[in-house]
């Protein structure tokens, strides 16, 4: 069964450093997403991406965050200057289309900011 692949699985970074989280969505999917889950809390939407541009973003997705699809397969989330409160599990997801399709999530990147 097709999978969404995320790397790395764990990332530890110093506060103020930049991090890039990487994802390879399912090849025939058109919509791509980033979500995060702080330990013990609910999964929260960050951003959706379609047709090489941001489709929607949440209040969490401020100027410190950016997304990119640098080639035909990768989808990245960059956090420019990490804060302690950015520590969370970050999930990439993709879907075939908008409107009534389930999302396929990756296994996540656990980001720890120290």
């Amino acid at each position: 069964e097709p999978e969404v692949t995320q790397t790395p699985s764990h990332q530890v970074t110093q506060m103020g450093q930049e991090v890039i989280l990487r994802c390879v969505p399912i090849s025939n999917h058109l919509y791509f997403y980033w979500y995060r889950q702080i330990l013990g809390q609910k999964v929260e939407f960050l951003v959706s991406f379609y047709n090489n541009e941001i489709s929607e973003k949440s209040e969490i997705f401020d100027d410190q965050f950016s997304v990119e699809r640098p080639d035909g397969s990768n989808f990245t989330l960059k956090i420019r200057s990490t804060k302690l409160e950015d520590s969370a599990m970050y999930f990439c997801a993709s879907s075939e289309a908008w409107g009534g399709y389930g999302y396929t999530f990756g296994s996540g990147t656990r980001l720890t900011v120290v």
């Binding site: 999964v43 939407f45 951003v47 379609y50 929607e56 997801a93 389930g102 999302y103």
Partner: protein
């Protein structure tokens, strides 16, 4: 503001019985509602989707109902097995054309052998 409520306490069910999980929402008019399973340290896994104009959906031992008047969805697992033990997440989308999912906190289901 939009709110999704799921039983935050763990639900203990005897193996073989039907587990019923509840999802209530307020201040939202979703186009569709989804249920996911999440195991510790893993990403959510899609189970079922139901649209606003559908009352019920089934897939193998799973059944979902959706009542837009009550603003409630029920998720049933029949003939439950210990392998069904996990956290089950309710997620809404499509209100106002938004495509990001809004998740509930999830219900931790434990199936006792």
């Amino acid at each position: 503001s939009q709110k999704i409520e799921q039983n935050s306490e763990a639900l203990n069910i005897q193996e073989g019985k039907t587990a019923t999980l509840t999802c209530n929402y307020t201040n939202y008019s979703p186009a569709y509602l989804q249920w996911y399973r999440q195991d510790p340290g893993r990403g959510p896994v899609f189970l079922l989707l139901i649209r606003e104009n559908e009352k019920e959906k089934r897939k193998e031992r799973l059944k979902v109902t959706f009542d837009t008047t009550l603003k409630q969805s029920l998720f049933h697992i029949t003939a439950s097995q210990p392998a069904d033990s996990a956290t089950y997440l309710c997620a809404l989308a499509g209100g106002g054309g938004a495509d990001g999912l809004t998740f509930g906190k999830g219900t931790h289901l434990i199936i006792q052998p």
